[in-house]
């Protein structure tokens, strides 16, 4: 390995290039490798001198190793990070001259690797000895089948040899097609990159030509190419490819034939997809379709494979959806349906209901007797959606039920619940919760409110009074305590506890349902049964939000005391 510092001026870059060429010549590297090495060094080094910024010394170091006819180069510097291997290329046009050098570097370096190591940019590049290519191999590629040897040789000579590691990207969808790639060894996957993820459309094995239509027709790439194995390839610029076909126009027949075959494949595949998607929709892949998939012939092997992957993905998604649905069922089962406790008979009327949003949600409510006379009621809302929120909701309900039975004072109880939830909370989920206890002998209500929206007390004259809220939600702060508050429910009065899914329900125009509408329904409702109150609110919200997607769980819990 030879090493040399490079000063921050162009004349030293020039000297460094001479130094490198002398080493290359000494090591017996071929004329072409020496030339391409000079091109790469000039771009990489002059770029650092002219464009790169550094807080202090640029401290550029050049290392060179000649090995097996190849030149291995490492350039490192203390400049601001810049990844020449993947920085976007500007299109050369009348407005700017930039980008030409980067194109040169990426083409003439057969392998290019950038890393930021400590405070240094490290660029490693290899200039490969040209691949020894037998033109006979190319005759198996339809586009080249009819190309005369001389034109083929010229194209090969004008191309650069590249080596790609597994998973390296050979082409990127959407980029302008400035070159085509002729695979000499290895396999690549052609992937269509969609919003929903990368979808493999074909696997291509050497020897093969890819990206030629884009390069000939100056079209953006319609797909990306990713190496499935280590790949050796030559890349020919669109200019060189066009020149080859200009010199041998008859060989374009081969390109057109290949394109025609591809169009036929696509048409057949479209039919296959239509059949297949229909079958998937019905949840059945029947015998005939399975047979068709297995007997499509070599041209459609790629589509068969892609279709199988698609099928697998859809089935996986369906399974996930089924799991989500069972999670929603389990969650629903956690919540009480009917309050059949005989200790309630004649002393109060209580009813709760939760309408989950599209997927499993995070609302919870619970009603249970603490002893013969005291009824516990709670409504909560776990922040977040999906499985984590619903799991946390289940944990919250269970913890509340267990701790509530320990006979602690309300504030001690809630502090204990909070500590327990805080400890079981790796993803920092939190929950708002109203927890109240009604003494059925005298209507006395004691409660704590952990950041939940204030429940409403419905008086006999139709007026409503909110119960003042207090404190942060559960599971955010360790060792937090909430003050216990009190209120009294008179005979014939009701308590209505709800989640913000009620007041924040949106109509199709994006308008919130709001507290006013809720108050209006509650005060207008012919009290006094709990189920009727909940139904009145649910119906009113549903009518308001008709046509809009429900964004949040809607939970209502009503308690009505009998008129004495």
């Amino acid at each position: 390995m030879h090493r040399r510092p490079v000063r921050d001026d162009l004349s030293d870059v020039s000297d460094a290039m001479g130094w490198a060429d002398a080493i290359a010549a000494e090591a017996g590297l071929g004329e072409r490798v020496r030339h391409d090495l000079q091109v790469c060094l000039e771009e990489a080094l002059s770029n650092l001198v002219i464009h790169a910024h550094a807080a202090g010394e640029k401290d550029i170091a050049l290392e060179l190793l000649a090995d097996g006819g190849n030149a291995l180069v490492q350039i490192s510097d203390r400049c601001a990070p810049f990844d020449v291997a993947t920085a976007p290329l500007p299109r050369p046009d009348a407005a700017r001259t930039g980008g030409a050098g980067l194109r040169l570097l990426r083409t003439f370096a057969g392998a290019l690797h950038y890393a930021r190591e400590d405070d240094r940019n490290v660029l490693r590049l290899t200039v490969h000895a040209p691949a020894v290519i037998d033109t006979a191999t190319f005759k198996n590629i339809p586009a080249f089948a009819e190309m005369p040897d001389a034109a083929l040789r010229q194209l090969i000579d004008a191309s650069a040899t590249h080596v790609f590691e597994t998973a390296a990207r050979l082409m990127t969808q959407g980029e302008t097609s400035e070159f085509c790639i002729i695979l000499l060894e290895g396999s690549v996957s052609i992937v269509n990159e969609r919003q929903s993820g990368a979808f493999p459309v074909a696997n291509v094995h050497a020897p093969a030509l890819i990206g030629e239509i884009g390069a000939l027709a100056d079209l953006p790439r319609t797909a990306s190419a990713v190496a499935l194995t280590p790949v050796t390839a030559i890349t020919a610029s669109s200019a060189a490819l066009r020149r080859a076909f200009d010199n041998a126009p008859r060989s374009l027949h081969g390109v057109i034939r290949q394109l025609g075959q591809q169009i036929r494949n696509v048409n057949t595949a479209l039919g296959l997809y239509a059949d297949g998607l229909g079958a998937l929709e019905r949840g059945e892949i029947d015998q005939t379709l399975a047979h068709d998939l297995d007997h499509l012939g070599p041209n459609l092997e790629n589509f068969t494979e892609a279709f199988r992957r698609l099928t697998k993905r859809i089935e996986q998604e369906r399974r996930t959806r089924a799991e989500m649905a069972s999670a929603a069922v389990i969650q629903r089962e956690m919540l009480p349906r009917e309050m059949g406790d005989e200790r309630l008979a004649g002393r109060c009327d209580v009813f709760g209901d939760m309408t989950p949003a599209k997927h499993v949600g995070g609302d919870l409510y619970d009603v249970f007797m603490l002893d013969d006379d005291r009824l516990a009621l709670c409504v909560g809302d776990v922040c977040g959606k999906g499985v984590p929120a619903s799991l946390f909701m289940c944990i919250t309900v269970t913890t509340l039920r267990i701790v509530a039975r320990e006979g602690l004072a309300l504030d001690d109880m809630m502090a204990k619940v909070n500590t327990s939830l805080f400890a079981q909370n790796p993803t920092s989920i939190f929950a708002t919760l109203f927890f109240g206890v009604v003494d059925l002998r005298n209507g006395r209500l004691t409660y704590v409110n952990c950041g939940h929206n204030p429940p409403l007390v419905l008086h006999r004259d139709g007026a409503c009074t909110p119960l003042a809220s207090s404190g942060p939600p559960l599971a955010i702060l360790p060792a937090k305590r909430w003050p216990v508050q009190e209120a009294t429910l008179a005979p014939g009065e009701a308590l209505f506890i709800f989640s913000d899914g009620v007041t924040e329900a949106l109509d199709v125009g994006g308008v919130e349902y709001g507290e006013e509408r809720l108050l209006h329904v509650l005060s207008g409702a012919p009290v006094r049964d709990a189920k009727g109150l909940v139904a009145a609110v649910n119906q009113n919200v549903a009518r308001f939000a008709e046509g809009a997607e429900q964004a949040d769980d809607i939970t209502c819990l009503a308690l009505v005391l009998p008129t004495k």
Binding site: P92, T97, L104
Partner: protein, 113 residues
């Protein structure tokens, strides 16, 4: 690096470059190209005696081509050697100027203005 300038009929100018158009080469002819860019509307650069060109040399040629085309003129590069042609193919200069196999074809390319 040498640059000889020859006026051809019909207002076409031929610039014959010879040597290595590397960092030193490009800086040696940079000023002359600036003058050509300011004065000429039809310019052919004969590259047959240029053995090397890379990003610095391309920059000189592209700056000149841009100036000429902004005046409605045309510039073309003629008869590049194989290595030089590979560089031109890759760099995308063809969006800015013609690249032609002979001086004759380059002359007729710039004359059709």
């Amino acid at each position: 690096m040498q640059l000889n300038i020859e006026d051809l009929p019909d207002g076409v100018t031929k610039a014959i470059l010879a040597g290595r158009m590397d960092i030193d080469g490009a800086s040696a002819v940079d000023m002359q190209f600036n003058v050509l860019a300011g004065n000429k509307r039809a310019l052919v650069v004969d590259l047959s005696q240029v053995s090397f060109i890379a990003s610095m040399g391309l920059r000189t040629l592209m700056t000149c081509a841009r100036a000429i085309s902004s005046k409605g003129g045309r510039m073309a590069l003629a008869s590049p050697q194989d290595n030089v042609r590979r560089v031109l193919d890759t760099s995308g200069v063809e969006d800015l100027m013609g690249v032609l196999p002979s001086v004759e074809s380059a002359v007729s390319f710039v004359r059709t203005t």
